[in-house]
C-alpha cells in the first residue's frame, strides 16, 4: 500500500515538474525574446538581452557583483511577468530621473547625450567636473549634489524621487546599497570599473543607453570607438613594440596597474609591451622594484597631473633619473581631464599612446591626454 502511495506521489511530482517546465518554456516563447544572444560582446560583468512581451519591450539585464549575477528587467510599457528569471528587479525605462555615483557614469551619459535625465550626482564637490553642461547644472542646482559616494545624503536622494540610482559598490561605500534597499530606492550596482579591457569598459555605454532609451546612439557611439581602436591596432600591428611602464608614486609607495589590468590592455592596444607585475588590478611595490622593472623601459607614464616637469620626478627619488625613459626624456604625465573626458574618448587615449610610442606612424599628431615632461 505504502509503495503504491509512494509511486503516486512520485508520479505527481514528475507531472508537476514537467508542467512547470512547459509553463516556463511557454512563457519564454510568449516573451518572444528578440535576440536570443547577449548584446554585450566585450564586457564580462554585464549582459543585456532584449525581449518583447505582449504590451512591453525591454531588456533582461544581468550585472555581476559579488560573484553573483543580479537580474534586472528593464521594461518599457506594461510591467511584464517574467517568472523564469529568479528574483528580478523591475525597472521602468526610459528613466526620467536618474542619480549616478561616479564621474565615469557622467562620462557614459555624456557620450550618448543623455545627461538631461540626471537629477542628482554623488559628487561631494571636491574635484573639477569637465563636462560643461553637468558642471553648469550642478552650479545652478538643476543637478543636485547629493553628497559623496561613501556618505551620500539619503534625504536629498529620497526627495528627488529618482526612478533609478546607479551606484558602484567598493570597500568605502558598501553600506550604500543596503541603505538604498531599505529605503526602497531602485538602484543598479554597476561593475564597469571591474572590466579589464578598454572596450569592455566602454561597452557599459549600452547599459546607460538601455536605461535612458538611447540604445541606438549608444550602439553607434560604441561601434565608432571599436572601429577607431581597430584602426589604431591595425596601424601599429607591424611596428616595433616599445616597452612602457605606467606608475604613480605616493609617499614612497609605487602603485602600478598589473599585467591583466585595463591600463595594461590599453597600452597593448596602442602597440606597446606593458611592463608590470602579475596580480590583481593594482600592484603596490617600492621604488627599488619600480626602477628594476622600468630601468630599460622606453616610455614611462606617470599617472598623475601633479607632475609638471622632470624635476618633480627627480624630487620623488633621485634614483629615477637613472632609468632610460628619464635619460631619453620620455616621461609623460596625464592631463587633469583624463579621468573624465578620457573616459569618453578611449579611442583618443589609445591613439595618444600609440602616437607617443610610434611617432613615425603618427606624424603631426598632437596627443591630448598625455604631456611630455621637460
Amino acid at each position: 500500500m505504502s509503495m503504491t502511495l509512494k509511486k503516486i506521489a512520485l508520479l505527481l511530482i514528475v507531472v508537476a515538474l514537467i508542467s512547470g517546465c512547459t509553463q516556463k518554456q511557454k512563457e519564454k516563447n510568449n516573451l518572444n525574446i528578440l535576440l536570443k544572444h547577449n548584446l554585450v560582446k566585450y564586457a564580462k560583468n554585464f549582459k543585456l538581452i532584449p525581449f518583447k512581451a505582449e504590451n512591453s519591450r525591454g531588456y533582461i539585464l544581468y550585472v555581476k557583483n559579488d560573484k553573483k549575477w543580479n537580474v534586472y528587467i528593464l521594461y518599457n510599457g506594461t510591467k511584464p511577468n517574467i517568472s523564469f528569471v529568479k528574483n528580478p528587479i523591475y525597472i521602468k525605462i526610459p528613466v526620467k530621473r536618474l542619480i549616478v555615483m561616479s564621474s565615469t557614469h557622467l562620462a557614459m551619459l555624456e557620450a550618448i547625450n543623455a545627461t538631461n535625465c540626471l537629477v542628482g550626482f554623488m559628487y561631494g564637490g571636491n574635484y573639477k567636473i569637465y563636462f560643461k553642461d553637468v558642471a553648469e547644472k550642478l552650479k545652478e542646482g538643476k543637478i543636485l549634489n547629493v553628497g559623496s559616494p561613501y556618505n551620500p545624503d539619503y534625504e536629498k536622494i529620497l526627495k528627488l524621487h529618482p526612478d533609478l540610482v546607479v551606484i558602484y559598490v567598493a570597500m568605502n561605500n558598501y553600506k550604500v546599497a543596503e541603505k538604498l534597499k531599505e529605503l526602497n530606492v531602485p538602484f543598479v550596482i554597476d561593475s564597469e570599473w571591474k572590466e579589464n579591457t578598454p572596450l569592455g569598459r566602454v561597452e557599459w555605454v549600452k547599459f546607460f543607453g538601455a536605461i535612458t532609451g538611447k540604445e541606438s546612439i549608444a550602439c553607434k557611439y560604441f561601434n565608432r570607438i571599436v572601429e577607431n581602436i581597430t584602426k589604431i591596432k591595425e596601424k601599429v600591428k607591424d611596428a616595433n613594440r616599445p616597452t612602457l611602464v605606467w606608475a604613480l608614486i605616493w609617499h614612497g609607495r609605487v602603485y602600478m596597474p598589473s599585467n591583466t589590468s585595463y591600463v595594461a590592455n590599453m597600452v597593448r592596444d596602442a602597440g606597446c609591451t606593458y611592463l608590470g607585475f602579475n596580480g590583481s588590478a593594482y600592484t603596490t611595490t617600492n621604488i627599488a622594484n619600480l626602477i628594476k622593472i622600468a630601468n630599460n623601459a622606453d616610455y614611462f607614464i606617470y599617472a598623475s597631473y601633479f607632475a609638471k616637469n622632470l624635476t618633480y620626478i627627480k624630487n620623488i627619488d633621485p634614483r629615477l633619473t637613472e632609468i632610460k625613459a628619464f635619460k631619453d626624456g620620455r616621461i609623460y604625465n596625464i592631463t587633469p581631464d583624463y579621468w573624465q573626458l578620457g573616459y569618453i574618448h578611449t579611442d583618443r587615449v589609445i591613439e595618444d599612446l600609440a602616437a607617443i610610442t610610434h611617432p613615425n606612424l603618427f606624424r603631426g599628431y598632437k596627443p591630448h591626454y598625455f604631456v611630455r615632461l621637460k
Partner: protein
C-alpha cells in the same frame, strides 16, 4: 543629583528631537506623524527611514562608549583610559583590514558584502576580548591588564600596517575612511541588532556600581569590602569590550566620547558614585554623540564630516575648560 539626571534626560530627549527634525531636507515632526498614520508622505518617510535610525544609532553608540570609558577609567584608576585603550578598536580594524585587504590580494575580482564588514570587525574584536578576559583572569593588578591591552592594540595595528603595505592606494583610502566612523547608512536592521546587544550590556553595567565604587580606592580595598575582584575585573573587561566592539563594527571608530564624557559627567555631578555616574554617562554620551552627528552631517552639507572630527574638535575645548576651572 536626581535633578541633574533629569536634566540630562531632557538633554537627550531634546538632542534626539533635534536629530530627527534637522536634516538637509525640510521635514518636520508632523511629516513623521503623517507618515506613521499611514499617509504616503516622502518627508515623513525620510524622517522615519533616514534620520531616525541614524539618530538612535548615534545615541546608543554614544551611551555605550561613554559607559565603556567610565568603567575602564575607574578600574584602571587612570583618567586617560578610554574604550580604545584595550586594543578593541585595533582588533576590530584588524578584522576589517583582513577582510578588505587580504580578500583583495587573495581573491581575484573580490567584491564586498556589507554584513561581512560587521562580522569581520566583531570577529577581530572577539580575539582581543578573549585574550583580555584570559589575562584578566590570571593577572593580579589592573596595571598589568592595561599594559596587555595596549600591547594588543600595538600588535593588531602592526598587522594592519603589514596589510596596508601590500594594498593599493585606493584600498588604503577606503580602509582609512572606514576607520573614521560614521552613522551614515545605518539601517533599522543594523540598529535593531545594536540595541539588542548594547542595551542589556549597558543596563548590566549598572549592577557593577557598588563594586566600581569600592574599586575607586584600589583592588586591595575592594577585596576587604568583600568584592570578588577577579569576577568584577572580568565583568568590566567583557562589558567594555563588547560595547566598544559592537559600536566599532557598525559605525567605525568614534574618538573622544569614551574618554571625555566620563570626565564631563564627573565634573558636572561632582561625585564619584557610580550609581549616578553610569546612567549619567550613558545619557550624556548619547546626547553629545547625537548633537555631534547633527553637526557632522549639517556643517558642510551635503559633504559629511567624519564623526570623530566633530566629537574631538567640539569636545576637546569643553573638557579643557571644565578641567581648568574645576
Amino acid at each position: 543629583m536626581t535633578k541633574k539626571l533629569f536634566l540630562l534626560l531632557i538633554l537627550l530627549t531634546v538632542s534626539i528631537f533635534l536629530g530627527i527634525i534637522i536634516g538637509s531636507v525640510n521635514a518636520s515632526i508632523f511629516d513623521l506623524i503623517k507618515f506613521l498614520s499611514g499617509k504616503n508622505d516622502v518627508l515623513g518617510y525620510i524622517v522615519f527611514e533616514v534620520r531616525m535610525p541614524r539618530t538612535f544609532a548615534a545615541a546608543i553608540a554614544g551611551a555605550s562608549l561613554a559607559v565603556s570609558g567610565l568603567l575602564l577609567q575607574t578600574y584602571f584608576r587612570n583618567p586617560l583610559a578610554g574604550p580604545y585603550v584595550l586594543g578593541i578598536s585595533s582588533a576590530a580594524s584588524f578584522g576589517v583590514a583582513l577582510y578588505i585587504l587580504a580578500g583583495v590580494i587573495l581573491v581575484p575580482n573580490f567584491s564586498f558584502y556589507a554584513p561581512a564588514f560587521v562580522v569581520s570587525a566583531l570577529l577581530g574584536s572577539a580575539i582581543a576580548i578573549l585574550v583580555l578576559v584570559l589575562v584578566a583572569a590570571k593577572v593580579r593588578s589592573g596595571v598589568t591588564l592595561l599594559i596587555v591591552g595596549l600591547m594588543i592594540g600595538y600588535a593588531f595595528s602592526a598587522v594592519d600596517q603589514i596589510l596596508i603595505t601590500f594594498a593599493n592606494a585606493r584600498n588604503v583610502q577606503i580602509y582609512i575612511l572606514w576607520s573614521f566612523g560614521t552613522f551614515s547608512g545605518v539601517t533599522w536592521s543594523y540598529l535593531e541588532f545594536m540595541l539588542i546587544i548594547l542595551l542589556p550590556v549597558i543596563v548590566s553595567s549598572f549592577f557593577l556600581s557598588k563594586s566600581l565604587n569600592a574599586l575607586l580606592l584600589g583592588e586591595e580595598y575592594a577585596k576587604t569590602m568583600g568584592i570578588n575582584v577577579k569576577v568584577v575585573r572580568i565583568a568590566i573587561m567583557c562589558i567594555s569590550a563588547i560595547l566598544t566592539a559592537v559600536v566599532t563594527a557598525y559605525c567605525g571608530i568614534i574618538a573622544f566620547v569614551g574618554l571625555a564624557v566620563p570626565h564631563i559627567v564627573r565634573l558636572f555631578f561632582k561625585t564619584s558614585n557610580h550609581f549616578i555616574l553610569i546612567p549619567a554617562s550613558a545619557l550624556a554620551g548619547a546626547s553629545i554623540t547625537v548633537l555631534c552627528d547633527i553637526i557632522a552631517r549639517m556643517l558642510l552639507n551635503p559633504i559629511e564630516l567624519p564623526i570623530s572630527v566633530v566629537t574631538s574638535l567640539f569636545g576637546a575645548p569643553i573638557v579643557i575648560y571644565l578641567v581648568i576651572n574645576r
